[in-house]
């Protein structure tokens, strides 16, 4: 395949082979003995749009189903290169333009086979599989369509994809939050399916997550012993961001922005007190926003306690009770990163996440090689904490021994 580079000159490159592309990650895993450590990835993706004709067959409303399926046959691609489409940086991140060239077994589920390739390369045992484009479901103005697309995807994922992964993929399913009754219906329908460890608020939305209408849904998730996660994203159309002219700047601000918004409402309205047994996970906003928000909210809480009547401790204390996915981990200032780890109690609250195959993925060695972490913290962050949270068993005897050694499994 040819890629266009260097002022238009075509550069021939080999077809994509994920195992070969990630050979250095496999080497890192071997050097560090990752196969003896249970590694749980709490945020990975597939490109579900490649299977849209398949999963959209599960749309139940016949009018919306006809509309969606018909839209696939028009053959009119979008020629405007939206910023969300520039994740590959003009082809520099080669697995995007080469993705279709990778060969898989037609008899197997392609996304599972691709997933196992990169998981094996990274040394990842389990991975939480999320969609890509559907993370923007909250931007839909049609609540019915949001519900139908989430419903179709969640059915397809739990019936066609997760069962083929030998138990190595799990998921937290996207909730169509625009209509609270639909969200509750999803929890009731999918909450007990194998591989479902929780539900997901796709964070790119501005509705108030503390609204009374959502309490039944949160209660339903909590009662089932599942987790609630917030997965952030970007929205170049967000009025606040419309002056940003680069993917990098929309990305830098957008991912933390939506989680900051929802975290602020979640904590300040006492949702942690109302649902004390509900594990809440904040995904793909990096970590640098956390010290900022902890200090801002604690300051406001100190001066204006009458506006936080439900809180029994400081906002940052509640934030330290919640969980955080590590990626994209800001690693350009080790002093700042170490401070962040201390402020969020990373040893017990941080969860390794790769975000693979997206452009800014993190390998497990990004955690393992941090100079300020104890051995126990490394084991916990890479998988020990997540194994307890999601009831994921060790896959080898060595992993079992390490989980017991660091208090993540009873002997």
């Amino acid at each position: 395949m040819d890629l266009i580079a260097e002022r238009g000159r075509r550069v021939s490159v080999e077809d994509l082979n994920t195992t070969k592309l990630l050979a250095h990650a496999r080497k890192q895993a071997d050097q560090r003995g990752f196969d003896d450590i249970l590694i749980v990835d709490v945020d990975a993706h597939h490109h579900e749009a490649e299977h849209q004709k398949e999963f959209c067959q599960f749309i139940e409303n016949e009018v919306l189903k006809q509309q969606v399926l018909q839209s696939f046959s028009k053959g009119r691609g979008n020629i405007l290169p939206g910023m969300t489409g520039n994740q590959d940086m003009g082809g520099r991140v080669t697995r995007y333009p080469l993705r279709q060239t990778e060969k898989t077994d037609p008899a197997k589920v392609r996304d599972v086979e691709l997933g196992h390739r990169w998981m094996d390369a990274l040394g990842v045992d389990y991975s939480c599989l999320f969609p890509t484009q559907l993370l923007a479901a909250g931007m839909l103005t049609d609540a019915e369509l949001e519900h139908e697309l989430c419903w179709a995807y969640n059915r397809w994922l739990t019936e066609k994809v997760l069962p083929e992964s030998n138990g190595r993929f799990y998921s937290m399913l996207a909730l169509p939050l625009s209509e609270p009754e639909h969200a509750l219906k999803h929890v009731e329908a999918f909450g007990s399916r194998p591989g479902v460890t929780g539900f997901l608020v796709t964070s790119v939305r501005t509705l108030p997550v503390h609204h009374n209408a959502y309490m039944k849904t949160y209660r339903a998730v909590e009662e089932r012993g599942l987790a609630l996660a917030f997965h952030s994203g970007i929205n170049p159309g967000e009025p606040f961001f419309k002056s940003l002219n680069k993917f990098a700047t929309v990305h830098a601000l957008g991912f933390p922005f939506y989680n900051i918004l929802h975290m602020t409402n979640w904590v300040s309205n006492g949702l942690c007190e109302r649902f004390p047994k509900l594990p809440v996970i904040w995904i793909e906003a990096g970590l640098a926003w956390l010290p900022f928000l902890m200090q801002r909210l604690d300051h406001e809480h100190m001066l204006r306690p009458s506006e936080f009547p439900t809180l029994k401790k400081q906002p940052s204390d509640y934030m330290r009770d919640m969980y955080y996915a590590s990626q994209p981990m800001e690693m350009t200032d080790m002093r700042g990163l170490e401070c962040t780890f201390q402020m969020i109690n990373a040893e017990t609250q941080l969860l390794y996440s790769s975000d693979y195959p997206h452009w800014d993925f993190d390998v497990p060695s990004a955690i393992w090689d941090l100079p300020f972490l104890s051995e126990k913290a490394k084991h916990n962050i890479l998988g020990g904490t997540a194994s307890r949270l999601f009831n994921l068993p060790p896959r080898t005897e060595k992993q079992r021994e390490n989980l017991i050694k660091h208090g993540n499994l009873k002997a």
Partner: protein, 121 residues
Amino acid sequence: MAEVFIARKGVFKDGDRQIVHAGDTEIGVFNHQGVYFAYSNICIHQGGPSCEGLTIARVEEKIMPDMTSRGLYFSHTGMHFACPWHGVEYDIATGECVSNRKLKLRKYDVIERGDDLYVIV
């Protein structure tokens, strides 16, 4: 020090790239406009194959004397190569990471012996 064979000069043309191995050491060798450059194939960011991605001209911005911007363009002199994992870019002439030039890939010497090219490891 060992000399590791890269390629015959005649077949290693301008714009070509070759990855050579010397034990556990991986080295990317570039022929850029007739000049040979060789760098470690381990990205300083997260260890990706730094030399195995696109070779692509440096992006510059045209800033006019009145300080207005007239857009982006590809440099006609500066050439980069990008790690395919995350797109981290390096200056092909120096091996410096272009977003932080204090960081650079280890550089290796390339020598010619007759029609053959070798990298010194």
